[in-house]
């Protein structure tokens, strides 16, 4: 009996290997009970020899059909039947017995079986191993490859399952009831386990994030309360010290705690904004007395830009010049916020020529930086320099800043320099120069503008005409009329008409003539210009 089983299992091995798959024989419909092998049968543990084979073949030819599977669902039995018959080419049959659909083989051909077994018994894959592998692969097949005697009932001892230990890092292994049923992407352990790990990580992340969200809320609320409390307390203490002459020693305990020290510095900065003269000096004295300047200088030298900025600000407000070199270095930093803070700090910390740093700017001096610097001058009532000197700067954005400042501070003495700037290589500078010249009514620039009109881009031309409108001059009427006639751009036409109209009586006369003109329909333009609600 044992020999028969050996051969049958050999056949099974080949059948399974040749069929190449065991996929959906069962899913969740396989025979759920233990596999039984009739008396004397056992698993293959060694090779197969001719004698044993003859035995099996003989059996199959005589009385014993060999049962290779039993299924509850007929379609599964049929699938196995198809695959087995395709491989073995022998008589394979399905019969229904005891509630199962059984697949059985009979009349095997010896030579064929031999060749199957040779194929299965390659050196690299000894038969026993192959069987094991097959058994794993065939996990869904009822492993009841037995020769079934037609009449004899035999007791059925349970068969030990074939065990293959998976790598330890997997959460699921081949024995997992999950994997028994899963057959996706070649039943990859790695995939299934990767999915499980990802699910686990995602859920854990989710829980952690939720906790962070809720705790962060509480932390923020607490921090806000503390900040508010410290701000009020310290502000009161500082004002007491400045105006009631209380002792500076009570600040000592505060200065020993890092968090509170920073809160104190912030309050000192806030208070210093509104101070002048003695009170300002007294506050700076307290700052030095408590050694807070060391904190600020250390911060100014920090490698992190946001720390640097805090340091620059503190030093600027307390008028401490010890880190000026570091501030100068930051002037051409790639970080625009750091650059801007360095500029502000230098304006406050430099007594002579506070805007001298403008000549050192290599990077574009953005409009945002210009706005901030302008606001600083206004807010802190800083001495306004002669901005015309910066019209010579090599950085066009600095020239533009100077032009804007000339306009804002109405530095009419800069007329000659502005006129020169009209011929600046940068188109943007030229356009702004025209704008400034118009706003400040630098009449000496009119001739230059008229001359340069033809060579400028549309935007500059528009500004030239606008400037001419701001500086009405009857000698320009001919030029303006020419613009009106020749230009197709609507905006240019409107601005030229406005410029003509601004020339008082003569301008009105010209407009009246224009309205009668047959060359172009000027009526609509003139009506637009004369409508005072449009500006």
């Amino acid at each position: 009996m044992r020999n028969r089983v050996i051969a049958i299992l050999s056949l099974l091995v080949f059948t399974v290997l040749k069929a190449g798959h065991t996929a959906d024989y069962s899913l969740n419909r396989i025979h759920p009970e233990p596999v039984f092998i009739p008396d004397g049968a056992s698993l293959i543990t060694a090779g197969v020899n001719d004698a044993r084979l003859n035995d099996v073949i003989g059996l199959s030819k005589d009385f014993y059909p060999i049962q290779i599977g039993a299924f509850r669902v007929k379609s599964n039995a049929e699938r196995m039947y198809n695959e087995v018959s395709e491989v073995l080419g022998s008589d394979v049959a399905i019969l229904e017995e005891d509630g199962y659909f059984k697949v059985r083989v009979s009349k095997l051909d010896l030579d064929k079986v031999k060749s199957y077994i040779e194929e299965a018994e390659e050196p690299s894959a000894p038969l026993a191993d192959t069987i094991k592998t097959a058994a794993i692969t065939a996990d869904t097949v009822q492993e009841a490859f037995v020769a079934v005697p037609p009449v004899i009932e035999m007791p059925a001892p349970a068969v030990e399952p074939i065990v293959v230990k998976p790598p330890k890092f997997f959460l699921l292994n081949s024995e997992s009831p999950w994997l028994k049923r899963i057959n996706y992407f070649g039943k990859s352990f790695a995939l299934v386990n990767a999915l499980i790990i990802t699910i686990f990580i995602s859920f854990v992340t989710m829980i952690i994030l939720l906790m962070v969200i809720l705790l962060n809320r509480r932390r923020m609320e607490k921090e806000e309360d503390l900040r508010q409390y410290l701000a009020e307390t310290y502000q009161g203490m500082i004002i007491d010290y400045l105006f009631s002459g209380s002792s500076p020693d009570k600040f000592r305990s505060i200065a020993s705690d890092t968090y509170r020290r920073q809160a104190l510095i912030d309050q000192m900065i806030d208070v210093s904004v509104n101070l002048k003269g003695d009170a300002e000096d007294k506050l700076s004295g307290l700052y030095l007395y408590l050694g807070l300047d060391r904190d600020s200088i250390r911060r100014a030298h920090d490698y992190r830009w946001h720390k640097k900025i805090k340091g620059f600000r503190e030093l600027a407000f307390m008028n401490i010049k010890d880190a000026n070199d570091e501030i100068y270095e930051a002037l051409n930093s790639r970080n625009e916020i750091l650059r801007m803070e360095a500029q502000i700090a230098l304006v406050r910390l430099t007594n002579e020529d506070p805007f001298g740093f403008l000549f050192q700017l290599e990077r574009p001096f953005s409009l945002w930086e210009q706005i901030t610097l302008h606001e600083l001058i206004i807010q802190h009532d800083l001495p306004v320099p002669e901005f015309s000197k910066f019209l010579k700067a090599s950085n066009p954005s600095v020239v533009m800043f100077a032009l804007r400042m000339i306009r804002e501070f109405k530095q009419r003495q800069a007329e000659d320099d502005v006129r020169e700037a009209l011929e600046h290589p940068s188109q943007e500078v030229r356009k702004l120069s025209v704008e400034v010249a118009g706003d400040l009514e630098f009449r000496s620039t009119l001739e230059v503008m008229k001359r340069m009109y033809k060579t400028q881009d549309n935007h500059t031309c528009l500004e030239i005409i606008r400037a001419m409108a701001k500086m009405p001059d009857p000698s320009l009427l001919g030029f303006l009329r020419l613009v009106l006639d020749k230009e197709d751009d609507v905006q240019l036409q409107i601005e030229a008409t406005k410029a003509i109209e601004n020339n008082g009586e003569e301008g009105v006369k010209t407009l009246v003539k224009l309205m009668k003109s047959e060359y172009k329909n000027y009526n609509i333009i003139v009506r637009h210009v004369l409508d005072r609600r449009i500006f």
Binding site: I199, L210, I213, V490, Q491
Partner: protein, 481 residues
């Protein structure tokens, strides 16, 4: 074939999730950088500065009679010193124009202008007799749609920069300050457009065009969209901006360089996705003229808009978004994997192509295939469950990240209950995904059939008092937020 299809869906999901992770990381970096820099910025300097550039705010209005007066008032009270407001009445069939005319004492002016960008006939330009409203200009024109109205506004306005907004949105008072800042930071690249975060106003307390109290919507659908918007704006666009692959500045609010828009041809009236199409066209124009440029994005909440609160309106909105997306991608297909357009061509466009356009279609066919397997009784249920858990847990996790980003950045929802509600929605949202895919499929079918136009949607007003009533208005404000 079935297995191959399953593989496609599976690997697409993996790539999509990987891209979400990457976008999340980039977004976190960009947000941190932005917030840190912003903590040193004093926007007040800009408010009163005479150096601030002039900005035109263009708001198309179509049948907005219920909110137009409040909304114009909100626009006129924006926190900026150098701006004009241009309201374009797009041939409203209700009394939107008459209401404005009465409320703001409007008179027709003899306005001469050039149709630099083609648009429908402008019937008249109106200005107020009251000097208090001298920033206001109203354009009355024939109906031509949102894009056409914006083009009319661009033709009329004079400033170098313009903001396009929806007249029925609520604008944050300091939004212009925030939007204009990137234009003032002179770099070696020209900034051609800036967008920001759009928030959802449903259930918030709104009074006279201003938000008094911010709340998470009480209804499920708007709440779901809060989460969706938070994810899209704080995770997605922030990251794409960092990667220089931003393809969309929301039509609800964006600031643009006027000259570039005109040179690129203005808003397209042939698509319902004119906001995305404009950004693509501007970027294409800049790349083709070899001009260095930048499209920037700021994570600050700038504008609040009402979103659909019922499925029917939502379907209309989403199918329109899909159509707009398809039209934009089709028009600019030349950019697909084209290195001439930089990271936009190599990353941004393919991302939108595969994950915004194709992914819902593939997902939908996946649902069909699953149903087929269930009917055939051949679905591998355990593995299916495993995959579902994988997708579900990842999706919820990403949404939780988005909520965290909102919490640690702008912290707009002050009540703990609101945050917990959002978290609750994060757990339910994945079950709504099939509905989204259905809308996407419908959008594709409509695009195939060549459907055009915006349609209309049922909406409730902002104001508490008006909430009881339902009105029918154009829902153009929501495109691709």
């Amino acid at each position: 074939m079935g297995i191959f299809f399953a593989h496609v869906i599976f690997y697409l999901t993996l790539v999509l999730f990987a891209s979400y992770l990457m976008l999340g990381i980039f977004s976190a970096i960009a947000l941190r950088k932005y917030l840190r820099k912003n903590s040193f910025i004093n926007y007040n300097s800009l408010v009163l500065s005479p150096l601030s550039p002039k900005i035109s705010i263009i708001a198309p209005a179509f049948n907005e009679s219920k909110t137009i007066i409040d909304n114009v008032r909100t626009l006129l009270s924006l926190y900026y010193n150098n701006f004009e407001v241009v309201i374009v009445n797009d041939g409203s069939t209700d009394n939107t124009f008459e209401l404005m005319k009465d409320a703001y004492d409007l008179v027709r002016v003899n306005y001469y202008f050039d149709y630099r960008i083609p648009c429908e006939r402008i019937r008249g330009v109106y200005r107020s007799k009251n000097p208090s409203y001298n920033r206001l200009t109203i354009i009355d024109k024939n109906n031509g749609g949102k894009a056409d109205s914006l083009n009319a506004g661009i033709n009329i306005c004079h400033s170098d920069l313009f903001v396009s907004i929806d007249a029925d949105s609520i604008i944050e008072a300091d939004s212009i300050l925030k939007l204009v800042k990137p234009f003032l930071e002179q770099k070696d690249k020209k900034v051609i457009g800036t967008g920001g975060v759009i928030r959802i106003v449903n259930s918030c307390d709104v009074e006279r065009g201003h938000i008094r109290e911010i709340r998470v919507p009480s209804k499920f659908l708007p709440r779901l969209q809060v989460l969706e918007y938070t994810r899209a704006f704080l995770l997605g666009r922030m990251a794409w901006s960092q990667l220089d692959g931003l393809m969309l500045i929301s039509g609800a609010m964006g600031l643009f360089d006027r000259e570039t828009v005109i040179k690129a041809g203005g808003y397209s009236v042939k698509t319902v996705g004119e906001d995305m199409e404009l950004v693509l066209r501007m970027r294409r124009y800049m790349a083709e003229t070899e001009t260095k440029y930048e499209v920037t994005y700021i994570p600050d909440p700038l504008c609040w808009t009402e979103v659909p609160s019922d499925l029917k309106s939502m379907r209309k909105q989403r199918t329109r978004w899909t159509r707009g997306l398809i039209e934009s991608l089709r028009t600019h297909r030349k950019m697909f994997l084209n290195s001439q357009y930089g990271r936009l061509g190599l990353l941004g466009y393919p991302y939108w192509f595969f994950f915004e356009w194709m992914a819902p279609l593939i997902a939908f066919s996946g649902f069909i295939y699953t149903i087929f397997l269930i009917i055939r009784d051949s679905l591998n249920w355990p593995f299916y469950l495993l995959l579902f858990l994988f997708v579900y847990s990842f999706a919820v996790s990403i949404s939780t990240w988005a909520i965290l980003f909102e919490e640690i950045t702008f912290h707009k929802y002050k009540r703990k209950r609101d945050v917990l509600r959002l978290v609750g929605v994060a757990f339910l949202e994945p079950f709504f995904y099939p509905v989204h895919t259905y809308f996407a499929v419908r959008g594709n079918l409509e695009a195939l059939r060549g459907k055009k136009g915006w349609g209309s949607a049922e909406r409730s007003g902002f104001d508490k008092k008006k909430k009881a009533r339902t009105r029918v208005i154009d829902d153009s404000s929501d495109f691709n937020q």
